[in-house]
Symmetry: C4
Subunit: 275 residues, 4 copies
């Protein structure tokens, strides 16, 4: 949907996932270090969490597809307009296709974590493919529009392709906290940028329109994109800090003596890392 809501919807999806990941991965990382805190039942819990995450992803994708198809000016599942002898609402169909692959990724997540026959890394491969397909379709999507419109969409591709690459690397470096946080920040960036696109191209509340041909607007938008990323990094950093602090408080309550020992051992390990 080429309107404000059509950008706010995926933006919200990405923001929700980015925010959730910025809580989940620091927590998992803290758990990996302090096994005592995240004790019994956590394995089953983590697995259930993954399944719910996959189901949420699939549900978001379904909502997106339905919204694209059944808005008043949508295609209502009709692909070809036989009266006018041309394709019907190709934009909506392309958006549906993007959602479709995220849906497949969600389903693969569920299958991976419920059965044991599928290699676990397949969920990352499928997510990487979904993100790549999004970028691939966007690349051809904006062909022939106004300069600012094209530029603002193409900027998104930096986050998209970096995200696809990052997730693909996770196939080989599963559980690497650096890559997970990087992916999280890119996901938040995508989310907030979708909102930004909505505000720039379809100013809500009848605000003043942006001059699509002004070169200065392009320069500003490029810089603005970097600020969005700084903002995304800030959110990840704050959530990382809060989660780590909460886990440490809980840790101190549980076993004050044993932890002291663990801590000193840890410190040694880390300092050896550096040399």
């Amino acid at each position: 949907m080429a309107n404000f809501k059509g950008h706010a919807l995926p933006g919200s999806f990405f923001l929700i996932f980015g925010f959730w990941w910025s809580v989940k991965y620091p927590f998992k990382h803290a758990c990996r270090k302090n096994r005592k805190v995240c004790s019994s039942g956590s394995k089953v819990g983590l697995q259930r969490m993954e399944i719910i995450e996959g189901a949420t992803k699939a549900a978001f994708a379904l909502i997106g597809m339905i919204a694209e198809q059944f808005v008043p000016d949508g295609p209502h599942l009709r692909l070809y307009n036989y009266e006018e002898k041309q394709w019907s609402h190709l934009m909506n169909w392309q958006h549906s296709t993007m959602y479709l692959f995220y849906g497949i990724s969600g389903i693969v997540d569920i299958i991976t974590h419920t059965t044991k026959v599928v290699p676990v890394a397949i969920d990352r491969l499928m997510l990487s493919i979904a993100v790549f397909i999004e970028g691939f379709l966007f690349y051809y999507h904006v062909h022939g529009r106004a300069m600012l419109d094209v530029h603002i969409h193409l900027l998104l591709l930096v986050a998209v392709f970096a995200g696809a690459l990052c997730v693909f690397l996770e196939v080989f470096h599963r559980g690497n906290i650096i890559l997970e946080l990087f992916r999280t920040s890119l996901c938040i960036l995508q989310g907030s940028w979708f909102w930004q696109i909505g505000f720039v191209l379809y100013p809500p509340g009848g605000g003043p329109e942006w001059n699509q041909m002004d070169h200065n607007n392009m320069l500003f938008i490029t810089m603005c994109y970097c600020w969005h990323y700084a903002f995304a990094l800030l959110i990840v950093a704050i959530n990382y800090g809060i989660i780590t602090w909460l886990v440490q408080i809980k840790m101190k309550k549980v076993e004050p003596i044993q932890m002291g020992l663990l801590k000193s051992r840890e410190r040694e390990e880390e300092s050896e890392d550096e040399i």
Copy 2:
């Protein structure tokens, strides 16, 4: 051959190989987990299978080269037309060259698996080179044609270069089931897309021609490419499911008790993977 058959032939080759791989790799993966099922003689059997695969690849390449050279309007091995002072049937020669490298890859496969003096990973390097050469030639091949014709061929390059990269990664991560399945899906995509190209550019049975200059057709074709890939993923998933299911049935018959033990051990290993 710039006609329907010239696209259906390689399309069929890729489909056959993609389909075969979607059976072979899940089976090998299942065997790796349950050594009892794929018991004695399997090593020799697997090796023989690889040799047959290489021979088939070389045979397909030979068929392709002969077809390109000796169709009625082909070059019949003549490279330069001295009467007209120009190159003769360069398109057919380029196709022959593409087939040639797949042929070399097939021969290298056979050598790798019959003798012991060649490092095994050389078969992947050679396949990667063959796929890359295909993409390299295609890239310059379509220069100066109609817009849709160019676009539909260039889309193929995404699958080709992704395939070349994937196979190159297999040089270092041999036997990685994720990469093998990824390669399989890209191979099926190539196969089905060759058929699609044939149907779009040379509608068989005198169907209506596509408007090569319509921008909407380009948008549709791009999206259609993604659907082909979703279809390729579906085939891989279904075959993976069937093969795993068949192996598990056989496993239960063979040694019902021992397997139970193995299964529980496996589960522990996998869950440690996740944390």
Copy 3:
């Protein structure tokens, strides 16, 4: 600041860091081999060094941002000029944004090496992001200027993106001396090239202006860039030699006998490496 000083300032920053790294990393490498020389207290010392480095980076970034904002013809923190209804001093704002990310990188360095809760590799990821953002902004920055101006800035991107890639690889290969020296040489290249840009585009002392449209100037500048890199490699090589030589002299003084033993053992290890 589009003047000589605006290029000399970042140039000096990069040169200082490049030169410092060309001393630091060979020293760390020599220490790793001869643990006796860099004895007790060195762990704490190395950590303090990293913190000071991070603080310096952040300070340089702050200086850069203040300089860009508060030069006489700067924006003085005003982003939008309401009188003229346009963005105010976008170039200075873009430069400030580049400095901002280096500032974030510096702060992350400090946090990483003072607390123990953050995974160490995050400092490299953040540096890689900062370098990438610099290149990303530069890419759109020079749009629409004279040919030589564009070319001389785009050449910089080779060093920038190679640097970003190199630092990203360090996330996975931390402490790899090869990558560290490679990064050092690219950093010196950036520094000296910023000075070169200043001299070419804004000849100080009223020297003759360069013809911005002469194709030969472009060819010369491209070659000159390679010479700068040869010069950067030379600096790294000389500093590497001096540091290694100084460490070996100190080593001989400390424990002449024990070292002899160590040395012969080392030689064996290395030669096995080669085979």
Copy 4:
């Protein structure tokens, strides 16, 4: 030198190195497997070989630089023509710069293998940089020439950048026979392609000139490039076969019994690889 000899000279250098590597790496690989054959003194021998190789590389680079500078229509070390107020013989200077980096690479090779203070992988990094610089300069070098001239030079870049990447990977995978053979084949390709460029652009013996604007010539040249690579692969394969065969013959003479044991052990290792 923009003439036949100016292309034949580097072509010969690359061919000599490619041919030498196609003998050296299979031999090293065979030695790694059969330690008995390449017995005592081989370590020192291998090291001496590396030093000679580095010296040869540096000598070739020096010859190239001298040839470019002191041919009759060369710059004779003069960079700026003050009479005509323009750069003097920039093409020759660019070629000299390319040779310069290969020279540095040769010197680094010598230093790496004579002293023990330098990490060994630095020789590959430096070679990778040298190859990249060659490609980088070539990319801007051909700007503004005739279509076929540009195309035939840009084709070279595929081999150059693939070579740079391959050598860079060797920094992390030193001694990987697959990468070494791949590099060898790309080196031979470069060598034979330089000769081809010479024959096409400056037909010796007053042969007919090629039409630089004929699209068919471009298509043919692209295909021809692939044939050159097939030829390069063939040379590598033949030399690999001969060397392996010679080593095996020698092996059988030396210790017929012991080898049999080794061979069967080897076979087991390899077949485990496959599963």
